[in-house]
């Protein structure tokens, strides 16, 4: 299968610090990839390079067989959508207005069905007239996810399966909405979208993706099927914790050893 996204020898420096060094990654249509790694491993930098937002110092990123730097912002937006981590909206836009921003120049009349579907998918239909800044952090994150879904749908209607990038999309979400988001992303992958997400929760990452990419110190530490990537040794090397890796229905799950259950005070 041809790759939707192909990155070769990516390197990024900021001043004298090396953020990323020699990272290569190829993602096919319909694939779900989770990027994991400790703080400062270069995960967000990698995602920003893959989104075309940052330019690499070395290497190149190709989206649909074309250098990502050669797209105009508008062309790029029609082929890849990205959900960032912290978005602080200062003006009193309603949830509906924010979600509609994903639809480009289309009016509410044209993009209405897409907006409705996305709001329904993230469970915010009844908040559509609420002003975004009045919602909780998790609800705002879901509204932005709905906006990104609308953008993806609009782009895919014209250019076929695209690329969906998610930077810690579950950081403010409760358990149920974490699972909902993973399911929503999986549905996109089922339709051919290539999905890449940075996730901090190892077990959620394992659930989310059949392929894990591990970054450590700006380098690729591992890239492969979850059962191969998630081992006790690798978790010790990369995250510097001792953990037990169990299997449930052929899918690994991780339990950090040092995480003892809280005891009632004596």
């Amino acid at each position: 299968m041809t790759a939707v996204l192909e990155a070769r020898h990516l390197g990024k420096r900021a001043g004298r610090a090396t953020l990323l060094d020699g990272v290569g990654l190829s993602v096919a249509a319909g694939e779900m990839v989770a990027i994991i790694g400790p703080n400062g491993a270069g995960k967000s930098t990698l995602l920003r390079l893959l989104s075309g937002d940052l330019r690499p110092n070395t290497g190149e990123v190709r989206l649909k067989q074309r250098d990502i730097g050669s797209f105009t912002p508008r062309e790029l937006a029609a082929r890849r959508a990205m959900l960032s981590q912290h978005i602080n909206v200062t003006f009193p836009f309603t949830v509906e207005e924010i979600v509609l921003m994903g639809a480009g120049e289309r009016s509410l009349r044209e993009a209405g069905p897409l907006v409705d579907a996305a709001l329904d998918e993230v469970g915010l239909s009844r908040f559509r007239e609420r002003q975004l800044p009045t919602l909780s952090g998790g609800e705002q994150q879901r509204a932005h996810f709905a906006r990104v879904l609308v953008q993806l749908a609009c782009g895919e209607a014209e250019h076929g399966p695209g690329l969906l990038l998610l930077d810690e999309p579950t950081s403010s979400l409760d358990l149920r909405h974490q699972i909902d988001l993973v399911e929503a992303a999986r549905r996109r992958a089922g339709n051919g979208t290539a999905v890449i997400a940075i996730l901090h929760d190892l077990n959620l990452a394992i659930r989310f993706a059949d392929r894990l990419v591990v970054l450590a110190g700006g380098r690729l530490a591992a890239d492969g099927p979850r059962a191969e990537v998630v081992t006790r040794e690798r978790i010790r090397d990369v995250f510097e914790i001792d953990a037990v890796v169990h299997q449930a229905d052929g899918v690994p799950y991780v339990l950090p050893q040092s995480m003892r259950a809280a005891m009632p005070p004596r």
Binding site: S51, R74, L76, V89, T90, E97, D120, E129
Partner: protein, 361 residues
């Protein structure tokens, strides 16, 4: 399942807020016309409504009275009202664009030194063209002032953006403080010019500091019109970009906005609109804060509507304020900047206090 609830909630909420949006523009147009007609009738020489059609040359035969009325209207009052309306529109729209650009409802060209930068450049132009060195350019003074003010405003806006924007994020605190510093520097420059200016220049410069429409002529109104028209046309072009910019520069880019181009266009627009307005009326503060803020409460923050509505409400407020300025202490005239500050500063404080709860500076 939740769709039904959604529709219910939708109809319940729609009624209060954004429904007003659909007839905001026609309503504002009507209010502007009414305000302008009111402004035509009052002044040092009162022209009652009954004499207005004849004075405008729309009806009735010529008498001595009508020809006096016509003189007052066509050579003094109409150009002044037209200039006030356009200046109000320019300042309010410049405020709205600047607030979108900086993602901050407190941004205002007058407050953060863009107007002062323009005024400094304009005052410099006055002193320079009056001096021996600038003698050759003196005949161009009318044309030179708006250009100088535009250049001064542009330089100030660019410096402000450079200082307060780092890696795509704009710090509100640094932005406001930088604005205070830039205003102080520009005012020091104006102070220096005041020091070296002769009596006539001094009057001209003082007038810049307080703001007044009294210098409005047809020539000056003719300078404003193309800038306003070009600005309105450009507003339609940048509206969606400014909407997305509320998400931050990176996310606006992810959404398909050419952020660098949007920033350049916005900075040039704010500078041109503020600079040209300042070159004719002097520094008039707070219109750019009050107008967009009031409108956002009623029609929402989407720029496609906010920008043209700001032009109209800014025009209404400025025509109203100017009418007040030339009547309350008649036969003298109050500087209009005093009036707008008296209304605008409390609104500014109100927004600041409300913001304090939402986000720490």
């Amino acid at each position: 399942m939740s769709v039904a609830i959604g529709i219910e909630a939708r109809s319940a909420r729609r009624s209060a807020g954004r429904r007003a949006a659909s007839f905001a523009i026609p309503l504002l147009l009507v209010v502007l016309v009414v305000t302008a007609i009111g402004a035509l009738t009052v002044g040092a020489a009162g022209i009652p409504l009954s004499r207005l059609p004849a004075a405008l040359g729309l009806a009735g035969e010529s008498t001595a009275m009508t020809s006096r009325d016509q003189l007052v209207l066509w050579s003094i009052r109409i150009p002044r009202i037209a200039a006030a309306a356009m200046i109000g529109g320019l300042l309010a729209a410049a405020g709205a664009i600047m607030q979108g650009l900086f993602r901050n409802p407190l941004a205002d060209p007058a407050l953060v030194g863009v107007s002062s930068g323009g005024a400094l450049a304009a005052a410099s132009a006055i002193v320079f063209t009056d001096s021996r060195f600038g003698e050759a350019l003196r005949f161009l003074q009318t044309e030179l002032l708006p250009l100088a003010a535009f250049a001064g405003s542009l330089a100030t806006t660019a410096i402000l953006y450079g200082i307060s924007s780092r890696a795509g994020r704009t710090s509100i605190a640094i932005f406001l403080l930088a604005g205070v510093a830039i205003t102080a520097i520009a005012n020091a420059g104006i102070g220096l010019l005041v020091f070296i200016a002769d009596d006539r220049q001094l009057r001209d410069i003082t007038f810049w500091m307080l703001g007044s429409m009294s210098g409005a002529t047809w020539t000056k109104a003719a300078v404003l019109a193309p800038v306003l028209i070009a600005g309105l046309a450009a507003c339609a072009f940048i509206a969606r970009g400014l909407d997305l910019l509320v998400l931050g520069e990176a996310d606006a880019f992810h959404g398909g906005v050419d952020v660098e181009r949007l920033k350049r266009i916005s900075i040039v627009m704010v500078s041109a609109m503020t600079g040209v307005a300042v070159s004719i009326s002097g520094v008039i503060g707070f219109v750019g804060i009050v107008v967009p803020h009031l409108l956002r409460l009623v029609i929402g923050p989407a720029h496609r509507l906010l920008l043209p509505a700001s032009v109209l409400l800014g025009a209404i407020l400025m025509v109203g304020a100017d009418t007040l300025a030339r009547t309350i202490v008649a036969p003298a005239e109050m500087p209009i900047g005093i009036l707008t500050a008296a209304v605008g500063a409390p609104v500014f404080l109100f927004i600041l206090l409300r913001q304090r709860g939402l986000a720490a500076l």
